[in-house]
């Protein structure tokens, strides 16, 4: 049973909370129910005490994202051809180009969305995974808050991909000028998608589980 008298959780009372509709369902033991064996009586969703295999899945996705982040930044994201001249630009070269041309608001937007946000997101996930695995019970509230922040900002990294799509659509004037998406766009797009899946597979309740057993 729970060692701390003041903290009564779904787990300590052996109640499974439906992630889709919030209905509580009693279960025989507070330790994991086999995946998909119990379903919510209101909405039919599969019930779990915690997300299935949360830490392993998040680790796998995070490591994949970190590996793909390297080609995403080294390979060109766009290939511009103008009058027979082809120019490749990586994300960082794009940022530098705008800084040199005095377009610093655009440089700041692209730097934040394409470089800062993915790095921040991967660093935060790494910190959350390690702190949960080491069984830390410190600063649970702060860790939950930063988790909510990365859940919210992850999607904004897609800006640069959308900019490429729009430019590809616009600048298709044959021999005069054309813009094509580079290999880097593929890897970058994969990084954004995979980090979104990684933060979705991390169960924030794991942060708090340790606080209860420590009392």
């Amino acid at each position: 049973m729970n060692t701390s008298l003041s903290v009564i959780t779904g787990r300590s009372e052996a109640l499974l909370s439906c992630h889709a509709c919030g209905l509580l369902t009693p279960c025989s033991s507070p330790d994991d129910v086999p995946a998909g064996h119990e379903r919510c009586s209101r909405c039919g969703s599969a019930l779990h005490m915690r997300y299935t295999d949360s830490l392993n899945r998040t680790w796998a996705l995070l490591i994949t994202a970190v590996i793909l982040y390297i080609p995403a930044n080294l390979l060109p994201i766009t290939q511009t051809s103008s009058l027979g001249l082809t120019q490749d630009k990586t994300i960082m070269q794009g940022v530098i180009y705008f800084l040199q041309h005095g377009e610093w608001p655009i440089a700041v937007v692209i730097f934040t969305a394409s470089i800062l946000v993915p790095l921040l997101k991967m660093a935060v996930l790494l910190y959350l995974l390690i702190s949960v695995q080491r069984g830390s019970s410190k600063r649970a509230l702060e860790r939950t808050k930063i988790y909510r922040i990365i859940e919210f900002i992850g999607r904004w990294s897609m800006i640069d991909i959308f900019v490429v799509v729009i430019m590809v659509a616009l600048v298709q004037l044959g021999t005069l000028a054309s813009i094509a998406a580079g290999e880097g766009a593929l890897y970058f797009c994969a990084v954004v998608i995979i980090t979104m899946f990684a933060s979705a597979s991390f169960d924030p309740r794991l942060i708090w589980d340790r606080c209860e057993t420590d009392g």
Binding site: T9, S17, G22, C43, I161, A169, L170
Partner: protein
């Protein structure tokens, strides 16, 4: 109508920290938060269903306009290109960027379409206290897909692309660009006007 008693007092486990919270009956406009981690546990938006339905229909109209009409017209050396969303996706596909094209199609076209159609399927009958078959499945899928609707991110993309290209060509924002702009606000308003807990309790009452 019966907006007042729609959320009865109920015990819920916080989705972020698992603490059991007693959520009181909420009057329209009120929200309940977890006492330990401050996560939002339930909201009862004012005129939830009516406003939700009105916003869903507005979003649907704007979304059709955003997809059908050109969002930017691009003039360079006398040549004018009109661009729609579909041209961009097809362009990427033709360059062999199948994965990127698919991601853009899913996040900008398919997910918003499914979310809006799903909401209409739920909200129209619920207004008169009825529900259509498969409503549970529809809500579950809306919850699952919601994070993958990136229309507002795309709008910022349009602005950045316009600034990037303005030195090399004349750019004229089209009807679709204004629709995307309005969609940001309509989607944001929609997500605070419709609460899944309210939908579930309405659905239970309708059966």
């Amino acid at each position: 109508m019966y907006d007042d008693a729609i959320l009865q007092s109920v015990v819920v486990a916080c989705p972020d920290c698992d603490l059991l919270n007693q959520v009181p009956e909420l009057v329209p406009g009120d929200s309940a938060f977890c006492i330990r981690c401050n996560a939002t546990l339930a909201r009862n938006p004012k005129d939830g269903l009516e406003r939700g339905l009105a916003l869903t229909c507005t979003a649907a109209i704007l979304f059709v306009v955003a997809n059908v009409f050109p969002f930017l017209s691009f003039g360079m050396d006398g040549l004018v290109t009109h661009t729609t969303l579909v041209t961009g996706i097809v362009g990427l596909y033709n360059q062999g960027m199948v994965f990127v094209a698919a991601v853009v199609a899913v996040t900008i076209v398919i997910v918003p379409t499914l979310v809006l159609v799903g909401l209409m399927y739920l909200l129209f009958p619920l207004r008169s206290g009825r529900c259509l078959p498969g409503s549970e499945l529809v809500i579950r899928w809306i919850i699952r897909m919601y994070a993958w609707n990136m229309v507002e991110v795309f709008m910022i993309g349009i602005v950045v692309a316009a600034v990037k290209l303005h030195t090399m060509a004349v750019l004229i924002p089209g009807l679709a660009a204004w629709s995307f702009m309005l969609l940001i606000f309509v989607f944001a308003w929609l997500s605070i006007s419709v609460d899944v807990r309210v939908l579930w309790s309405r659905l239970e009452a309708a059966r």
